[in-house]
């Protein structure tokens, strides 16, 4: 039991926002390749609790994805999968 709990603790460990960790990483609506990491296969934006982004950068990503969608650089939905 004890061991299981410990393992679980490791699993739930707080993720670090990748944009806070790496200041050089830019969030750009013109670069859908990097944004693709933050949407599901169906094209939905991955929530913060899963992606581990901080609020500030999640906001920026969301805005960038929405802009990219408007310009048809990214899909609104993807039915193929």
């Amino acid at each position: 039991m004890k061991e299981q709990r410990r393992k679980r603790k490791v699993y739930v460990r707080k993720k670090v926002c990748r944009f806070c960790a790496d200041a050089s990483a830019q969030i750009e609506y013109k670069d859908p390749r990097n944004l693709r990491y933050f949407i599901t296969e169906r094209g939905k934006i991955i929530p913060r609790r899963i992606s581990g982004n901080c609020a500030k950068h999640q906001r920026k990503i969301t805005l960038a994805i929405k802009r990219a969608r408007h310009l048809a650089l990214m899909p609104y939905t993807n039915f193929e999968i």
């Binding site: 609506y29 013109k30 802009r67 408007h70 310009l71 048809a72 650089l73 990214m74 899909p75």
Partner: protein, 176 residues
């Protein structure tokens, strides 16, 4: 009047004639100038596949205009983009909240220099890649020489269209 720096991306229909495309772009540029702005950089992303169909199109020709000007210039540009029938989509984003036109002139000059340097590098690389092709095509040497002459003529023009040189190189490969 407050001058801001903006960035407009727009998508044109992919299959319109060259002349019509040029006319549209030129008109947009004059609109920016008339609105009291200057065009800092013009970027052609080329024809890309759209993430979803827009109307009957699955591909689009993307352009990016980086310009500085008063808000009036933006509303004029957007009004015209809405009117042009060949424009599928557009998006304007504010890049900097306060800039001076003089500073932007400088940035434009720098960008033009960079563009020039990039074109030169591309040309040099092409020239560097050319010799191996010559060796491989020893049998059809006459043809190769003819093609080279054509390429040189384009280089003299300076503004040599990138696309057309590409097409010629592809032809050369087909001959192998």
């Amino acid at each position: 009047m407050r001058i801001r720096r903006y960035e407009t991306v727009f998508i044109l229909e992919p299959d319109i004639e060259e002349s019509r495309r040029k006319e549209t772009l030129e008109r947009l540029e004059t609109i920016i100038q008339k609105g009291g702005g200057i065009l800092v950089k013009r970027d052609d992303w080329g024809i890309r596949k759209l993430a979803y169909d827009i109307g009957r199109f699955s591909k689009g020709h993307y352009f990016l205009y980086d310009f500085a000007g008063p808000s009036l210039a933006v509303s004029e540009v957007e009004r015209h983009l809405r009117m042009f029938e060949v424009v599928l989509r557009f998006l304007t984003v504010k890049k900097e909240d306060q800039v001076s036109l003089e500073a932007m002139e400088k940035v434009r000059a720098e960008e033009q220099e960079k563009e020039e340097a990039r074109r030169m590098a591309l040309q040099q690389r092409r020239e560097a890649e050319a010799p191996p092709v010559k060796v491989e095509e020893a049998a059809t040497k006459v043809d190769v020489e003819e093609e080279e002459e054509e390429e040189e003529q384009e280089e003299v023009k300076g503004e040599g269209d990138e696309e057309s040189t590409d097409a010629e190189e592809e032809e050369g490969e087909d001959l192998e």
